[in-house]
């Protein structure tokens, strides 16, 4: 499944790098707000679900070759975060739902199509 489909099905607001949504394949997912946890345990191609909004999330996603970042609970990514994401080409999407709901829906989509 590509990110574009995920954005459509989950009604996500894409804040950055919409031009990459179609070509970015989502291979799996990881959820967490501890950056070291995500560094150690996420896999390349995962979409990352988090409540963090500061710019360091972009470095983590870029270093781990993650597909993109979904920020939950309607939280607003900081301006620096968007700028950095633009530079690194990391799609940032926002959901109004909680992390629990987002993870459940992403899991279902990835496993049942």
């Amino acid at each position: 499944m590509n990110l574009e489909t995920l954005v459509e099905k989950l009604n996500l607001k894409c804040k950055c790098c919409w031009e990459k949504l179609k070509s970015t394949e989502v291979k799996g997912g990881y959820a967490g707000d501890l950056l070291s946890d995500v560094m150690a345990n996420s896999s390349a191609g995962d979409v990352w679900v988090t409540r963090q909004v500061h710019q360091n999330i972009v470095a983590v996603a870029s270093l781990k070759d993650l597909a993109g970042i979904i920020i939950v609970q309607g939280a607003v990514p900081e301006k620096d975060t968007i700028e950095k994401a633009q530079k690194e080409g990391i799609p940032i999407m926002v959901s109004e739902w909680s992390n629990f709901e987002v993870v459940g829906k992403v899991y279902q989509l990835l496993n049942n199509g």
């Binding site: 501890l34 950056l35 070291s36 946890d37 500061h54 270093l63 070759d65």
Partner: protein, 148 residues
């Protein structure tokens, strides 16, 4: 003492400024880019990326300043991180997952969970950590290139 071959294998040396969370990740990104350009295997690049990111965050979180150096030899990549800072009082304790001396401002950003050093150890084939109180900390991490 490191031999001449080792010193000659220095691939890059990077400065890290303490407390500069704005630029956090820049050094690890540079190192990752350089390994990609050299055509290193993906799994090796990811290991080194975790190690350098955690080392970089540690210097930023706790030290005044530091350097991260990368050495590449045919059989291994070595990362050395040296900082000028408070040092680590109890290394065994610091290596325990979940133990952290990070303050609230660091934790709010999702750092300081007490996983950094144990992550570095987990992704290293050889791991050495030495520290002197009031002076600084020295980390050496080796990732072997040919399996074990």
């Amino acid at each position: 003492m490191p031999d001449d071959d080792y010193l000659e294998s220095l691939e890059g040396s990077y400065y890290v400024q303490g407390r500069d969370f704005v630029d956090a990740g820049i050094v690890s990104s540079e190192i990752k880019k350089s390994l990609k350009e050299k055509g290193m295997p993906e799994d090796i690049i990811r290991k080194v990326a975790v190690i350098t990111f955690e080392a970089e965050i540690n210097i930023i979180s706790y030290a005044e300043q530091g350097t991260i150096q990368m050495f590449i030899r045919p059989d291994a990549i070595t990362i050395e991180a040296n900082d000028v800072g408070p040092g680590i009082a109890d290394i065994e304790l610091a290596l325990q997952e979940g133990y952290s001396t990070a303050d609230e401002s660091i934790r709010e950003m999702g750092f300081g969970a007490g996983m950094g050093l144990s992550n570095i150890k987990k992704f290293s084939d050889v791991f050495e950590l030495t520290s002197e109180i009031g002076k600084g900390t020295r980390l050496k991490s080796v990732v072997k290139l040919n399996g074990q």
